[in-house]
Amino acid sequence: MNFQLPFMPEQASAAASEVDHLTLYLVAMSTFFTVLIAGMVIVFAIKYRRRGENSVGSNFENSALLEITWTVIPLLIALFTFGWGLKVFFRLYRPPANAVEYQVTGKQWMWKIQHPTGQREINELHVPLGQPTRLVMTSEDVIHSFYVPAFRVKADVLPGRFSSIWFTPSKAGKYHIFCAEFCGAEHSGMIGWVTVQTPEEYQAWLATVPGPKAPAASGDQLFAQYACSTCHKAESGGRGPSLQGRFGTAAALADGTLTTFDETYIRESILMPSARVAKGYEPIMPAYQGQISEEALQQLILYIKNLPGGNSATAGASPASQGTSR
């Protein structure tokens, strides 16, 4: 059901009306209680106004029944509210398996975005109507937060790890992108536009942008350029673990613990390989900290994710992969 009330931003994603339903329930529930309390205060203040200089109140001052009533009813309402909020929350952070991934990099004070087909934009994001879209985001400097009010989604964008949001645009148009986490002088200038187009318009738009290679293809090049392939190919003699089909699986570490082979782990393993060494391997890999840009990292990660046998579809399927995915 779609509805538009004053003070509600446009509902431009499939999830927006779900959030707005929750909002309407919250508003109705709290209006009821506010009117109840304010009404009682006003009625009592008038009805029991002081009649004489020396008059005092009654000795009606305890009631177990009332105390139980106004403890249990609010508790039940609170638990119901919690459950509804949780349902919407999981919906907002659990991308479907077929979500198309875009790379987002925040920096003071702009959003750099790369399409899966390689096109780049700054402070603009073009997306086709009806396509489940996942943004995989990181920051080059401080914490930012990617926020599209019309989609009712937001996630902080952190340096050193990946977070993500997803949405299915449901209405063509232009919508604000805001940075929602204070990030310095031009925080309020770190804004942009999402443009939702019909799939045909989107294809036409893509064709007008001179696109470099798709990020995964650039990743292939980088994989060779940084000589990753000398150790990390199945045929390279076992100096490093093979990366084929590893994404989203559990990875055993030298210290005996397990971690998930996800974007954040890959990123850390490139920049600071000794932090979490894979079980059964020597810590011989050189650190690439400071030698590789965030965008190149994203391209490499995308390439590794999609290595044959890779199972990138499961990447976002667990709600725990929101945000930190540590």
């Binding site: 005092v56 009631s63 009712r152």
Partner: protein, 555 residues
């Protein structure tokens, strides 16, 4: 003692010995060990910080009149809103009620001569002033632009502003909070006069006790966090900045582990004041005394396990978010219990709408909205959209200004005759209360709508569709400012020209009303012995009328 108003004495209070005229000279104030004088030192200091924070707030509101950032540079604006937050949170809201009303009233209400550690009490004030001086130097001399939340890595590796000096100021100020909390706890445990059992304590004392618990247990965590922040900024230790191997989310956990309970440091004392106001101006025992008392403790304890609701969209795991959301819902319950009990106290009461009661009733309304919108924000699916928007700003101002400040002003008016011996002018005070209520709602209600429309907080410039609501908000802030200027004028005026108050102008039943106004330095000329509890209006009136009453609820 009956519930009739004591006739005002004809002699001016200055002629009787009291804590104000016992000794003279600046030194007698700056080296005082009298808890009442320390309370007045706090009153002067928090008023100055409130003025400063208010000026910052007005600058913010004026800048936001127009969508373009045309009054200040972005850098200036960021320093101004940070100055507003740091000043108001750490140097007004946290110390205001415990420092001023708590210091003045805790010993009086329990029949003690002073707090347990008078020297420590004075030391608390000096720590507060030292921290405040460093903060002032930092904020006014170059400023700091991180927001009062000091999030790294921006605060440790990027900003060039005075994070260090302001951070150290807040750190030192924390010790003032810890010592005050410690002092109150020991005082309440050890210094109660004969007959003052735990369940004969005024609810104000229960509220101060719950607050002290949080001050003592929570404040050390912000102290450690600030030390780590300073170490990272000064010596480049990689604690929070991921570029140095740190974890920025760790800071957010540590920061909110204190700063969420700190919200209860601000609101619990105000709730404590409200309980006194509602009882005194309904001339009725507070409804469900035990429930109200234990709700304070419940809020203090639960307040420690909800910090993660500040991190729903920060990168904390989704499951952690779920747990914190559930716990957040639970903390709403004791708050609701309090509101219902206050409201039921009015039922069959003898309700007077004197100024302090106007603040008390205003508190109930505004805190209801503040509390319920807290439930909105605790609801995961809703928070994602409005997190870090003006919805959050509106919510916490409803709690902080609508709650804490209303309680503070109500309490100040209620106990003003006890503190100074003089009455404030009722007409002007009612007018000011009305201005505060109207101005407050006009300032902050539009911000709920702005937030839902998507306007992020801490924005120096904003898209034009948000302007109308911002103009309303700024207009409201002007009315609110008027509502604060008025009391400043008439309260000062009343010191010389106010009507002589008498010992008990409200015919209230608390122990503090049994001594003279202003009280003598030793509080009570004879050792008080308590044989009843503080809200026995009904029993006292029956006795005065010569009717036998069944003894009040056994305690």
């Amino acid at each position: 003692m009956s519930a009739t108003a004591v006739p005002a004495p004809t002699t001016a209070p200055a002629e009787r010995p009291n804590f104000l005229n016992a000794t003279h000279g600046l030194k007698s104030w700056l080296l005082t060990l009298d808890h009442k004088r320390v309370g007045i030192l706090y009153l002067l200091a928090v008023s100055c910080y409130f003025l400063l924070g208010g000026i910052f707030a007005m600058l913010v509101r004026i800048e936001l009149l127009t969508p373009a950032g045309d009054l200040m540079l972005p850098d200036t604006y960021n320093r101004v809103f940070t100055g507003h937050g740091v000043t108001m949170v750490f140097f007004f809201l946290i110390p205001a009620i415990p420092g001023v009303l708590g210091n003045f009233l805790v010993p009086l209400m329990i029949g003690a001569k002073d707090v347990a550690f008078p020297r420590l009490n004075l030391a608390s004030w000096y720590l507060y002033m030292t921290g405040g001086a460093l903060m002032l130097y930092g904020v006014l001399n170059g400023g700091v632009d991180t927001g009062w939340t000091f999030y790294p890595p921006y605060s440790t590796s990027y900003t060039t502003t005075n994070v260090l000096i302001v951070g150290i100021g807040v750190f030192i100020n924390g010790f003032s909070s810890i010592l005050t909390g410690l002092n109150f706890m020991v005082t309440i445990h050890r210094m109660r006069c004969p007959g003052m059992t735990w369940f004969r304590l005024p609810l104000f004392i229960w509220g101060q006790y719950a607050t002290s618990l949080i001050m003592v247990l929570g404040t050390p965590v912000i102290a450690i966090t600030l030390v780590l922040l300073v170490l990272e900024r000064l010596f480049h230790l990689g604690i929070f900045d991921p570029a140095k191997g740190g974890d920025p989310i760790l800071f957010q956990h540590l920061f909110w582990f204190y700063s969420h309970p700190a919200v209860y440091i601000m609101i619990l004392p105000s709730m404590a004041v409200i309980s006194e106001l509602i009882a005194a101006f309904s001339r009725k025992r507070i409804f469900g005394y035990h429930f109200v008392a234990f709700a304070s403790i419940g809020i203090a304890v639960l307040g420690f396990v909800v910090w993660g609701h500040h991190l729903y969209v920060s990168g904390q795991s989704v499951y952690a978010g779920a747990v914190f959301s559930l716990l957040t819902m639970l903390v709403a319950i004791p708050s609701a219990v309090k509101v219902f009990n206050w409201t039921m106290t009015l039922y069959q009461g003898s309700v007077s709408l004197a100024t302090p009661m106007l603040y008390g009733l205003g508190f109930i309304g505004l805190f209801t909205i503040g509390g319920l919108t807290g439930v909105f924000l605790g609801t995961l699916g809703f928070d994602v959209h409005v997190h870090d928007t003006y919805f959050v700003v509106a919510h916490f101002h409803y709690v902080m200004v609508g709650g804490t400040l209303m309680g503070y002003l109500g309490g100040l008016h209620f106990w003003w005759p006890k503190i100074t011996g003089r009455m404030y002018p009722e007409f002007w005070a009612k007018l000011a209360a009305l201005l505060v209520f109207v101005g407050f709602n006009l300032t902050f209600f539009p911000q709920f709508l702005l937030g839902y429309m998507g306007m992020p907080r801490r924005y120096h410039a904003y898209p034009p569709e948000f302007q109308v609501l911002n103009v309303l908000s700024t207009a409201g802030a002007s009315v609110l400012a008027l509502g604060f200027i008025l009391p400043t004028i008439y309260l000062i005026w009343s010191l010389k020209a106010g009507k002589i108050a008498g010992n008990n102008p409200w015919a209230a039943r608390g122990l503090e009303w049994e001594t003279t106004s202003p009280p003598p330095t030793e509080n009570f000329l004879v050792q008080p012995i308590v044989t009843r509890e503080p809200y026995d209006y009904y029993e006292a009136a029956e006795e005065a009328a010569g009717r036998a009453v069944a003894p009040g609820p056994s305690h």
